[in-house]
Amino acid sequence: MTALLSLRALSQTYVSTPDLAERMANLAGAKYRELRVRAVNEVSFDVAEGEVVGLVGESGCGKSTLGRMVVGVETPSGGTLAWRGATLEEMTPEQRRQWELEVQMIFQDPFASLNPRMRVEQIIGEAPVVHGLIKRTERRDYVAELLGKVGLGADIMSRYPHQFSGGQRQRIGIARALALRPKLIVCDEAISALDVSIQAQVLNLFEDLRAEFGFAYLFISHDLGAVEHIADRVAIMYLGRLVEIGTADEVFENPRHPYTRALLAEAPRIDRRGQDFTPIEGEIPSPLDPPPGCAFHPRCARATQACKGAMPELRAGRDGRRTACILEHGEQP
């Protein structure tokens, strides 16, 4: 079976070239250079039909950029993205349309992602009408059905977003994504802005919808607890690169990469009392000026001289787990 989504060495580099004033200053001896940020650096993984892949990382690691490329909001600067086996370059217009409709996104901020001037019926029902999935005359019934699926009443259809709480708005955002009958839903920190009790409601809703429609999710989050709960497979990102990927059981029970280990060891949990916090040193390096070799080595307790030399590739180690750490690859004593 071909994977629904398949990423191969997918990269996104942002380039900032010197502007006119800076180029003139350069003539006078200033040293403005072109700035390149490799926000996403050669990321490869697949998402199968009905699979939940959790993408975890701290701010600035490129997880949101990756999500935006998957839904097609950004065009990758390198590598390939394939939907149902067809890469972006090969896609026929019909395949491209299918990809665009079948991948939908749910955003972090339920206050910024709904148009404040539209009524709920329009917010949810606009896209399926435009794309010809339903007729305009069917819109009310269609929206009512979707609202039922996300646990809201059909009577709210003529209200505006400001009349709802954060949790209700997030449900409206989910209904909007469902309206296009997607196959993959990209959730970018979709529950982070909600209160704890509401987070649990929305997580359950995600699972119910998955059971009913067989969705795949790319669940992007910094919340390890939520990812552990919902994901089948987990990918950990650090400074634009995947450092580890495996099934959720493997990664959470037996993390391999030193960064994954540190993340899991430090994440507060309800059953961890009087925790003696022993954090990893330092901060995430600037992506403008990443350290040579393994990007994690300045913070890594196990780093050796070899780690500063070459950028480790993501590949299977002795036990078959894919990590980007030369110590795990068994090349070092």
């Binding site: 009790s197 509401i198 919340d223 939520a226 507060p268 949990r269 309800i270 961890r272 995430i284």
Partner: protein, 325 residues
């Protein structure tokens, strides 16, 4: 028993709105001892932040503190004139906010801000104040503190800024620190670094800490005692282990089972149904009753009073969960 640093009794804070008077903090009582960490946990709108502000006397119109006592080392802060309160804030009580930019002035260098604070409270020379500031930055784990003093807030990362704010809070060795979601906006590894610094510094100095947060997991790792707030009232309080392992209030139980890591993988979470009520139209009885699986007729008609259920725990509930043991 050691006398508490802070003792709050029946604190009531009200806000006048067009729709009527809202009681944001409704009869809150709590104690914090020296070196103790009290976690105040609640969802948005539960009154946890306003409780912190009320302790500091930072309630502006249209709000007012309508009743109760706030005793710091036995002295009632509510009877103090504003000038004396001002001396006290930053010196005996410090506050740390979620957003460090609420505390830091973006157009002033770090040294200007720190020296100003020190000299407002201590009669020292500018040079001595600078030394104190550099020392405080070093204590919270900021590398090369003397150079850092000359930077502006925007030149630092979010984690560094929060460290500066913590350094300012700790600088004058206050008796009490009130921290309002100080690590919520930070990444896991940076949060962990800051929690570790706080633990170390507080234990050494016997400073009392009130940690206000929505995140029970952070409280589990850091606090000694926990107070759970709902709709302006403390519904349950007790030692962290006892309370999290054997919650008695259905709301506490609901909060715990809402946490994804509280159930084994693949099992469904048991969330609290419904949502937090608006303070403008609180139910007549227990505020949690409409969402509570155990609510009875009584709950909808009368408000439960706080009762001590054991030596260290108190509870506001007519139908508490059976506590194991």
């Amino acid at each position: 028993m050691i006398a508490p640093v802070l003792s709050v009794r029946n604190l009531v804070t009200e806000f006048d709105t067009r729709a009527g008077t809202v009681t944001a903090v409704d009869g809150v009582s709590l104690d914090v001892g020296p070196g103790e960490v009290l976690g105040i946990v609640g969802e948005s709108g539960s009154g946890k932040t306003i409780t912190g502000f009320s302790i500091l006397g930072l309630i502006d119109k249209p709000g007012r503190i309508a009743g109760g006592e706030v005793l710091l080392n036995g002295q009632d802060l509510r009877t103090l004139p504003e000038a004396a309160m001002q001396k006290l804030r930053g010196d005996r009580i410090a506050m740390i906010f979620q957003d460090p930019m609420m505390t830091l002035n973006p157009v002033l260098r770090i040294d200007t801000q720190m020296v100003e604070t020190i000299r407002a409270h201590r009669d020292v020379s500018p040079a001595r104040a600078r030394d104190m500031a550099a020392e405080a930055l070093g204590l919270v784990g900021i590398p090369s503190p003397v150079e850092r003093l000359r930077t502006y807030p925007h030149e630092m990362s979010g984690g560094m800024r929060q460290r500066v704010v913590i350094a300012i809070a700790l600088m004058l060795e206050p008796d009490l620190i009130i921290a309002d979601e100080p690590t919520t906006a930070l990444d896991v590894t940076i949060q962990s670094q800051i929690l570790s610094e706080m633990q170390r510094l507080l234990a050494a100095r016997k400073t009392a800490l009130i940690w206000i947060t929505h995140d029970l997991t952070v409280v589990a790792g850091l606090a000694h005692r926990v107070a759970v707030m709902y709709a302006g009232r403390i519904v349950e309080t007790g030692p962290v282990d006892d309370l999290l392992d054997r919650p008695a209030h259905p709301y506490t139980q609901g909060l715990i089972s809402s946490i994804p890591s509280s159930v084994p993988r693949g099992e469904r979470l048991v969330p609290i149904k419904g949502m937090t009520p608006s303070l403008i139209s609180l139910p007549r009885g227990c505020a949690f009753a409409p969402r509570c699986p155990r609510a009875s007729e009584t709950c909808h008609n009368a408000r439960p009073e706080a009762e001590d259920i054991s030596e260290a725990r108190s509870l506001r509930c007519f139908h508490p969960l059976e506590m194991a043991q």
